[in-house]
């Protein structure tokens, strides 16, 4: 790949395309480091509270539907695959495959957000389990809470962290979906060629990172409650 970039638009502050590519990659990874620390604040608080109120978090996790969580995980991992294939086809300059895979990733991302919004959050709102919106679980939920001797404030705290962590994650998904639409438009106009595919790689890094965050969220939030 010696003359990998015969006529690539090199920004004037860079000497050559290789330096530009390396700089963009490092910049993206440092941004992902800040995202790790951003989510890190939530993970740290979650860890502390989970050890302070084990029963409350166990009961709270029981309120979630692990099957939908698993389905969403599979959706997100598939979208990671299609994103990786999109980056692959961008590197080889196959425009049609690029647009196809980008569209697939977009679709999967929208499915994920859609499932979360309708089947999980809206359902929790209806069953009065959403904190801040009149949190008073009843029926089977209440029975499970009492069975585990969990104080209601701790269950509400768990639901707080559930909505916060998945909310911030969903926000990042929406931003990702926005980036994908921009990429599809650029690719459609043929502005992403074999030489100038950097932006697709960066979008790929971002998407895979958001997938990694979900990989950790799924067991911490959903799988805690299913253990019988």
């Amino acid at each position: 790949m010696s003359d990998a970039h015969p006529h690539v638009a090199v920004a004037e502050q860079f000497d050559d395309a290789e330096q530009q590519h390396e700089a963009a990659g490092l910049g993206m990874w440092i941004f992902l480091a800040t995202e790790i620390m951003f989510f890190g604040g939530l993970f740290a608080s979650y860890t502390i509270y989970r050890n302070l109120y084990p029963a409350g978090f166990l009961a709270g996790s029981g309120l979630l539907n692990a099957k939908i969580g698993a389905f969403n995980t599979v959706v997100l991992i598939t979208s990671s695959l299609t994103m990786a294939m999109a980056v692959h086809s961008a590197q080889l300059g196959r425009r049609k495959a690029l647009i196809g895979f980008l569209f697939l990733t977009l679709l999967l991302g929208l499915t994920f957000v859609g499932v979360k919004l309708y089947f999980e959050w809206y359902h929790d709102y209806l069953t009065h389990v959403a904190p801040g919106f009149g949190f008073h679980p009843e029926g089977a939920d209440l029975a499970r809470i009492h069975a585990l001797h969990a104080p209601l404030s701790a269950v509400e705290l768990f639901m707080c962290f559930y909505f916060l962590m998945t909310g911030v994650h969903a926000l990042h998904m929406v931003v990702g979906v926005g980036i994908l639409t921009v990429l599809i438009v650029k690719a459609w106009r043929g502005r992403i060629t074999r030489e100038s595919h950097n932006i697709v790689e960066m979008a790929g890094l971002y998407w895979h990172f958001v997938d990694i965050i979900w990989i950790f969220l799924f067991p911490l939030l959903y799988l805690l409650g299913v253990t019988r």
Binding site: M37, F43, I212, R228
Partner: protein
């Protein structure tokens, strides 16, 4: 983020292993490991779930995000971020989980005598 172009076949293999690991972690979650192995206060289920999650995350990171073929600086950034997060969690935990430890062993404290400013020594165990 080097110029390495990975083969689609490798991507699919990684994808399938990720799906497999997801299935595994979900299945294991339904089994109450503590009861099965009888370990008293070790959150076995959590540990297993986290180990699988770390494996999945490193698969995505190394192969999908090309960390395996990128320069050491990129890997250093990731390692530093995870290490700093570990600092936050461990040192905050150090405070929360040692809060109700009794500060010092009983005998040493009891023997400390009180030096009154006027020189009279009051042994601490004398009932006032």
């Amino acid at each position: 983020m080097s110029e390495h172009v990975a083969s689609p076949k490798m991507y699919v293999v990684i994808f399938l292993s990720l799906i497999g690991l997801t299935a595994l972690t979900t299945a294991v979650a339904y089994v109450n490991l503590d009861a099965m192995l009888g370990l008293k206060n070790l959150p076995l289920n959590t540990i297993v779930a986290l180990v699988i999650a770390i494996c999945k995350a490193s698969l995505v990171g190394l192969f999908f995000m090309h960390l395996r073929w990128s320069s050491n600086v990129m890997r250093l950034v990731v390692v530093c971020a995870v290490f700093w997060l570990a600092i936050l969690i461990t040192l905050t935990g150090a405070d929360f989980f040692t809060r109700n430890w009794i500060p010092i062993p009983r005998p040493w404290q009891a023997s400390v005598t009180y030096q009154r400013s006027s020189g009279i020594v009051i042994p601490s165990n004398v009932r006032r």
